[in-house]
Amino acid sequence: MARPARLAAQGLALAVVLGLLALLVWRVAHDSNKGVSQALKDGQHPTAPAFDLRRLDGRGSIDLAAVRGKKPIVLDFWASWCVPCIHESKRLEAARRRYGDRVDFIGVDTKDFSGDARQWQHKHGITYPSVHDGSGNVLAKWGGLPIPRIFFVARSGKVVGELVVEEDLPRYLQQIASS
């Protein structure tokens, strides 16, 4: 093989190897992001990651970036196959009657079939709007499975907490409602 051709082939091989290495590093760095839930455990209060997903009821979509920073938000990740989600969503529905004028309640139906999700909402009397995150990509940014996962976002757009025990709900609701 002529010298220029050999150099070109070696350069190409080196570029491919470096490209694959860069891809690996990017992937590892990307995976190290455990989401909002981990950030909260680490004592941080990250800005709520934006999403723009279509609503389950067919009335357009909800763009969190457009809502964030205007009003406090309660974000409820649920699915129709998730049994504990029934209890938590019903509690949020009850809380909405008291705080609905000051706080936005938004559901994120995740890794779920939208037809079953609509039936589930109707069956359990859940009236706050929900968006469909079938792939679970949005859930992954907030911490992934298991669900239910419920987050509280202050008026500033920062996530102030995640529901862990029952008592967290009134505490965080009062906190973000007065933010």
Binding site: S80, W81, K111, D112, D116, S135
Partner: protein
Amino acid sequence: MRRLALLLMAALLVVPSARADDRQPTLAELEGEVMCPVCGTTLDQSSSPAAQQIKRLIAARIAAGDTKGQIKARLVSEYGQAILAAPEHKGFGLLAWWLPIAGIVAAAAVVGAGAWRWSRAREREPDGPQLDPVLERRIDDELAHWDT
């Protein structure tokens, strides 16, 4: 000839899947090709509530007369591409099928070319190191002396 062989290989990979997508599948068949979105396994290996939900959906679509392609398209629209255990035989998904084959062919070509060059170089090499003519003549003389 080589182009024809490549075209035939492409047809063999693409055409059977296209035909399979046009017919009605069985539930068992799709259970092996669809992922459970929460367990990281195919549906046939999972009994989680999420997997049961998708199995019910598939059974309902089969009963409604949908083809395999239609059912898969419905699942992808609900759950995204990750719901399929293997990438589709079309569009960007074709890369996942062809790239490994192309890699194997390229690696075989590189190994073959290397082996060919190595064998040619060996053929051109002399049998051994050249002796000094004076030394060679002396050795011949010595040997002739011993022969007599």
